[in-house]
Symmetry: C2
Subunit: 324 residues, 2 copies
Amino acid sequence: MISEDDLIARFFAPMAGQGGLGLRDDAALLAIKPDEELVVTTDALAAGVHFFADDPPDSIARKALRVNLSDLAAKGANPAGFLLSLALPTDWQQDWLTKFADALSEDARRFACPLLGGDTIRSPGDLFISITALGTVPCGKMVPRTGARAGDRIFVSGTIGDAAAGLMLRRAEWDKPLDARARDFLIDRYLHPQPRLALAQLLRAHASAAMDISDGLVGDLTKMLRVSGASARIELPRVPFSEAARAILAANPDVLERLLTGGDDYEILCTVAPGAVESFEREAGAAAIGGTQIGEVSDGDGPPAFHDAKGRPVSFRRGSFSHF
Amino acid sequence: MISEDDLIARFFAPMAGQGGLGLRDDAALLAIKPDEELVVTTDALAAGVHFFADDPPDSIARKALRVNLSDLAAKGANPAGFLLSLALPTDWQQDWLTKFADALSEDARRFACPLLGGDTIRSPGDLFISITALGTVPCGKMVPRTGARAGDRIFVSGTIGDAAAGLMLRRAEWDKPLDARARDFLIDRYLHPQPRLALAQLLRAHASAAMDISDGLVGDLTKMLRVSGASARIELPRVPFSEAARAILAANPDVLERLLTGGDDYEILCTVAPGAVESFEREAGAAAIGGTQIGEVSDGDGPPAFHDAKGRPVSFRRGSFSHF
């Protein structure tokens, strides 16, 4: 038996930032500079939906924070802090929570995003986590999802589909040979998203629209174009895949659809006006994450058109991951 | 079958504030005035813990938002908006969600606290709600939990223990006569907390410390004194009870402990320096919620001492509600 106060003091107070007031108050306090605006986002994760209940507790903690930081990065925001709601199953173990809190604390430091507050309750069912992340942008500089315009070039960061392949491996839905290194890489990509905060400043400077890819490239691009009132043409051969994902595709080309619609990428999808492309590409290259041009925004309001190496249209049965 | 986007557009977009960007972006955007600071709080609620799964959906929605607004009020903050994480059980009904969203929308308007964003996921288990509320205070004016000093007078708003009695009735743990009006009043107090936002300005002006009472007067006062490094003497006959709670106490005086430790009051507990008492009492009276002086902060760091009408010390077996 441990009191709620002891639980907070022991597991969470160590990662509290200044605004968290030692987690001894009812609320956190944050000063925003006069030339900045606040960007706020929230993402919830449930066992059996966003992670496996028996995933390592440190991986669950990192994913819960990072999917939120990924949203901040896509908006061009710098992290300022986060709030954690945690519903612990009745049979929670102190060892589990120690590992969860240690990893969360480490990520909070790594990404300069201290804990500001939270609420820990007993869950009558499974583990449930909700994180609200706060960030700041210079006034008027948040990168919207709605700004894609005909002629803009479409970029993605990193590589696409690794997490979807990792989930496939995690679920033992892959029965072909795959070397251990590729397997580990893909599962790691599923378990540990990398928020592209290094691109935040770059997106503010050059992107007309941006979002992070959480529900798959196809579905998320479709969403971005819909709210922007535009369409697009995507050259599938340009979509960047990791060496490990290419090994999967070589063994079974049908997996392509899964890599493009499976989700959990947490890469940046953005559009850049023609005049800014050169600067964007140069600076993204310097950021070591890379930005790959995969197509172009076009007039119209239909879904994006995907083309293969021979220019033939490719369609996908399943748009994107959806909970409902 | 309804897509996540349709679900957002249909149920939640109508209550989105300007900063919510129509809920079509990954994040919300909020400008904070240069002379203001941000106050942030989060509270999670689970079926079977904070409400009954078969409570009316509109009551669940109101409680989820109001317990957060109650925290803002206690800090002297004015609401700026909220984010909602909602895990819906797999068998959720559109009718249920319509009622939930309508009530939430109505409260968002009533308390001038628009929806800024959120995340709706499928829950493998029960309903789970986490709300993060954002508010603002003039710089340096947030009322801390840590500011109680010896000599300060201790006040509570409204009446104490109504929700604890309401929960007792809701659980059919009361077998004595009680008139229908008193029963309805107490159950309503359990289902529908009233965030004391009307006192926010007053607390900023006059209170040395404040918090909202969510886990019972005894336990929450003990927490406030512990973080303030002080103790207190409370005169139990001064604790304000509603007519309905007094009817319960008249029938069974042993319920007193339950009313003082049961929680869910969502009244304000605050301390006021002697020189500010007169102004505080006058202005709290004008706010029609009332502030009742129940005791005085003292030196020392022990738990508060409670005294009955004859000056005899009274102790409580159970400090406060705790999840763990």
